[in-house]
Amino acid sequence: MPVFRFILQRVLQAVLVTLAVTLFVAFAVRLTGDPAVMMTAESSSVTAEDLVRIREALGLNQPFYAQYLDFLKDLVTFDLGNSFFRGSIANLIGIALPSTLLLAAASMGISILISIPLGIHAALHKGGISDQIIRVLSLVGLSFPNFWLGIMFVLLLSITFPILPASGFDTWPALILPATTIGIILTATNVRLVRTQMLETLSAQYVMVARAKGLSEWSVVYKHALRNAAIGIVTFLGLQFGNLIGGLVVVELVFNWPGMGTLSIEAIAQRDYPLLQATVSILAIMIVAVNLAVDLVYGLIDPRIRVA
């Protein structure tokens, strides 16, 4: 029963957070400007009546609560309604969401591939030269702005040595540069995380026991230590998802990746309320959902957390 109550509590919390975010977004975006005005900003012959007509056509003459309820209804039914300027939002998200998730997964994959071996190596050679080098490199990696790194990659690998496409979405090689850019930025933190987690487990008693039993170093490190360190690492990677999405927004723009970040920024520029509400809410829901999943999994693994 307590498990059930715990889950219910967390799910309710997540729903409340999501509602709060959608309400805030819907409210805030309406303070920033009038889409009818934006739409006609380049026209010299627009009259006040034209603006009123456009607002009516866009449903902007409705009171805020009605517009918000409409939006919630659309969100719950996964219909998402129509953008002010570009037709069905579901179609747009249908392109943007998978491409963002693909980029996120690829970046995370690259980061894991680099940071796990490097982190383990650093932990095993704590204080050694290689540990120091890895530490300095990860510090350097942390200090790079991700868009700068992206632009440098383009300069080097697309223009000076034209090996990879500078942008695009049509081919698999186009995925390499953006995924590597974010992957490297993520690696900077992940290496340190893997190192710390490994150091902790390596000093645990069961590792000493495993060593005392005369198990091979490989078996001690990978079968015993890494498996135990993995709980912490997986949890952290889950929590990092929010940062990852934030970083993606900028990198998507640099590499012209047609994802949720690009879509949100375009929606902001035009005050496309329905589209912006939809993209921000979906991103928020994803982050909340991942956090919830981490919470639940963690709680199930470690009963102490359920109490909190």
């Binding site: 026209s43 456009i54 037709g87 034209p162 695009g168 375009e266």
Partner: protein, 511 residues
């Protein structure tokens, strides 16, 4: 630890799922002569009446045609109409339509299509978009016979013929729209132009294919692949690495790089956009015309154009470029004369060290630099300029529209009609949306009168008079007319730069 393989399995499944989405979303095209183009913006909707964007023009002008055609030379020519005449005291304009023209879906072009196009524009569908307001001088389009239509005018509109080459007047197919519906038409429209739409993927690009049934010759290319790359650096990277053959919207800072690259040519042409600093003529020290004249004499426009803009702009003496109807080549700008400026300021009682403000939007990188230079020039005649930047939509729709500017404020405007009426009316006619300060009976009268006649000579005289009067009063400080700049790979032949951004790819070839 049993969860680990489980998580991994889930991850793998999700990845596989995404990979499938990815593969499905991007069919690969392989054709012999494909032109690759990059432009900054996604028009977001290919329906001509739903947009004002230049990004539509460089796509839509290859898909659609109007009754009137205006090409790269800006001369108005017969398009889908072979001719027109003014009847009934200029209240009725009769158009003779071209025969044997077909839409991409095979539907014939005829009087019915013209009537449908304008009924749609002026009716409920048009009300949702921004184009309708340009065409409200038309009361109704009447079918006379299969290839003749009459436009019944609500009020005289001397710019109508130009506007009939504009976005909102692009002829659309009645049968197709009724069959597929408005939403499908936004995404995959059909016109009479030399290219048809194969696929439009929002935020990614548009793929066009040669239309074999085109009435006016044949496109040299099999396909055009237009990509939307909003980040300037990325668009330049694609151009320099050969990923695209033509890049539109070249930012000024990239001009040098392109000039130095052997494989890419820079092609520039005077565009519609003029940049000026306007004055608060209603209050503050700039309410005094002497101060405005002094400021106009303190700024060296030629140096700004040459040093800051790499020569890719032309100094102007009124708020229009040399190509604009109403431009008077004899009208000379105030000379650069800091001493005379100082004397005028002293006469107006403005003490050295007086503070003035210059407002500008935050998204014009070029003007950000220009504003620094203006500030330096004004410093030399004893005016301390503080520059305030604002988010661009707030700038235009609150600061300017609400009359909350400082003494000077930035204004950039591109009247796509290349008719001074468009800009002058907006800048100087009282009560206009972006004109918070100027209220002048003489200007109102001149501007209103020229809108009532189709006589080009009368109009031209009136518009030149407006420009001269605006300069006498120094209502603003006209700075320069920016060029429309294209980056073109040397592989590309036969590309003519369009001043109005309506790039056409029909006669382009790629080696």
């Amino acid at each position: 630890m049993r969860i680990r393989p489980n998580i991994m399995a889930k991850g793998a499944l999700r990845f596989a799922l995404l990979a499938t989405c990815f593969a499905l979303a991007t069919p690969v095209f392989a054709q012999d002569t494909t032109l690759n183009v990059a432009q900054r913006q996604d028009p977001q909707n290919l329906d001509p009446i739903d947009t004002f964007r230049l990004s539509w023009g460089s796509i839509g002008s290859n898909i659609f045609e109007g009754l009137v055609f205006r090409g790269e030379d800006l001369v108005l020519q017969p398009g889908l109409a072979t001719g027109w005449e003014f009847l009934d005291n200029e209240t009725r304009i009769r158009f003779t339509l071209r025969q044997g023209v077909k839409f991409h879906d095979g539907e014939p072009f005829n009087a019915e299509a013209v009537k449908y196009t304008f009924d749609r524009l002026l009716g409920a569908e048009g009300e949702k978009g921004p184009q309708r307001s340009n065409y409200t001088s038309i009361r109704e389009v009447v079918v006379v016979d299969e290839f003749t239509v009459d436009f019944l005018m609500e009020s005289p509109d001397p710019v109508l013929i130009t506007k009939l080459a504009g976005y909102g007047a692009m002829i659309v197919p009645p049968k197709y729209i009724k069959e597929v519906g408005e939403e499908a038409f936004d995404m995959k429209p059909v016109g009479t132009g030399p290219f048809s739409v194969v696929e439009y993927t929002p935020t990614v690009g548009v793929k066009l294919a040669k239309f074999d049934g085109y009435w006016n010759g044949e496109a040299q290319l099999d396909a055009v692949n237009i990509r939307f790359i909003s980040e300037d650096a990325t668009r330049m990277a694609e151009l320099l690495s050969g990923g695209v053959d033509i890049a539109l919207n070249i930012p000024t800072p990239s001009v040098e790089t392109i000039k130095n690259d052997e494989d890419v040519d820079l092609v520039a042409v005077d565009g519609p956009t003029v940049v000026l600093t306007r004055f608060n003529t209603a209050s503050g020290i700039t309410a005094d015309p002497r101060v405005r004249r002094a400021i106009s004499m303190a700024v060296d426009r030629k140096t700004i154009v040459e040093a800051m803009l790499g020569g890719l702009a032309s100094p102007i003496s009124s708020a229009q470029g040399a190509k604009s109807f109403g431009n008077d080549p004899k009208l000379e700008a105030y000379p650069f004369d800091p001493e005379a400026a100082k004397a005028l300021l002293a006469e107006a009682g403005v003490k050295p060290g007086t503070e003035i403000t210059l407002d500008m939007p935050n998204n014009d990188e070029t003007f950000r630099e220009v504003s620094q230079v203006i500030s330096a020039y004004l410093g030399q005649v004893g005016l301390n300029v503080s520059i305030r930047t604002h988010e661009s939509s707030i700038y235009f729709n609150d600061i300017i529209e609400g009359g909350k500017t400082g003494d000077m404020f930035y204004y950039g405007w591109g009247g796509w009609t290349f008719d001074y009426d468009n800009t002058a009316y907006l800048l100087y006619h009282s009560g206009e949306r972006y004109n918070p300060y100027v209220k002048d009976a003489k200007l109102d009268e001149l501007l209103d009168a020229q809108r009532l006649t189709y006589d080009r000579d009368v109009r031209e005289k009136a518009l030149q008079e407006v420009a001269r009067y605006a300069q006498e009063q120094a209502l603003d400080l006209p700075l320069y007319n920016t060029s429309t700049i294209y980056g073109v790979n040397t592989r590309v032949k036969g590309f003519t730069p369009a001043p109005d951004d309506r790039a056409r790819y029909m006669s382009v070839t790629v080696d």
